[in-house]
């Protein structure tokens, strides 16, 4: 591999790895949880 190319690889991964990991972890943290709610009394159905 050419030297410039070796350096591109290393630099790319030095940037890409933490950036992607941070973005992915942050995006995952925003995932909505299943929400529950309270039904009023007049909803007597409950499947």
């Amino acid at each position: 591999m050419r030297r410039a190319h070796r350096r591109t690889h290393l630099l790319l991964w030095f940037l890409l790895a933490p950036l992607t990991a941070a973005a992915a972890i942050y995006a995952l943290s925003l995932a909505p949880q299943d929400q529950s709610t309270t039904f009023p009394d007049f909803i007597e159905q409950g499947e």
């Binding site: 909505p32 299943d34 929400q35 009023p40 007049f42 159905q45 499947e47």
Partner: protein, 266 residues
């Protein structure tokens, strides 16, 4: 690779034959591959098993494509095409069966002025617990027939609306067709685009909510006037939302009537 006296010496630790792609593989590489390939196969197969066996429950819906289902009753068009049919198992003996078209283009359904009178419809049944839906072709001649009027058939009365009150509920706006059984599971972020497209095409939306204890309710959703929504509902489809509106009983189902301005993402 070994650094020796300032230069790289690849041969220092490496006395075997070299693998050359266009020649036969040396014994050492053959031995390695004899272990590595089965090991790799075990890993990839294990991954398939692990992913497939941990998928969440696909839900209680079903799409009964291998049989033609016949529904006889009264057809109405508001808020969505549906048939009220006699069903002893339903409360007050009347079951609501939503009618949707094949694909996602229900708004193209031509009901040919058949509303308000007894008809027989034939299509494919989609069912989730108590909720039923009939999937029919777009061309009315292929699915809509006069009711046979066989002896013993009771005329079905269109149920009266019974307002129950208003409520603010957290839940999801689903597209009823996928949710009732065409897609399993037909919910969540990966289904959002499809759900939005279906509702754009005329599939009725349903509001799905659950309590902490797992009790769930599925209500047919309309705008505050009890009509079908316009496109302004689309941004809220499949997202976790909170909506405030009126809950109205119409026969065996509940309708949730909310203005789009009373819906917000949570």
């Amino acid at each position: 690779m070994t650094l020796e006296k300032g230069v790289l010496n690849p041969a220092a630790k490496d006395k075997e034959d070299m693998f050359i792609g266009w020649a036969g593989a040396p014994a050492v590489d053959r031995r390695f591959l004899l272990v590595a390939l089965p090991a790799s196969l075990a890993v990839t197969t294990g991954a398939a098993y692990a992913v497939a066996s941990n998928l969440s429950d696909p839900g209680a819906g079903a799409w009964l494509t291998n049989a033609t289902h016949s529904v006889t009753g009264v057809l109405v068009n508001r808020p969505y095409p549906m048939i009220y049919t006699a069903d002893p198992a339903a409360p007050d003996g009347v079951r609501t069966v939503l009618v949707v078209a094949q694909g996602k283009c229900t708004s193209g359904l031509d009901l040919a002025g058949a509303t308000g009178r007894p008809v027989r419809a034939e299509g494919v049944l989609i069912q989730r617990k108590e909720r039923q839906m009939l999937e029919v072709p777009l061309f009315v001649d292929e699915w809509l027939f006069d009711a046979d009027g066989a002896a013993g058939e009771t005329a079905v009365a269109i149920p009266q609306e019974e307002p129950l009150g208003t409520a603010r509920l957290a839940g999801n706006i689903m597209d009823s067709k996928c949710f009732f059984g065409v897609m399993r599971p037909g919910r969540g972020k990966t289904h959002k685009a499809c759900a939005s497209l279906c509702i754009r095409g005329g599939i009725p939306p349903s509001f799905w909510a659950r309590t902490d204890s797992g009790r769930e309710v599925v209500m047919l959703m309309t705008d505050a006037d009890g009509n079908a929504f316009g496109e302004d509902i689309l941004p809220f489809v499949a997202d976790p939302v909170e909506a405030e509106g009126a809950i109205v009983r119409v026969g065996d189902i509940l309708q949730f009537r909310a203005d789009v301005s009373d819906i917000r993402r949570t």
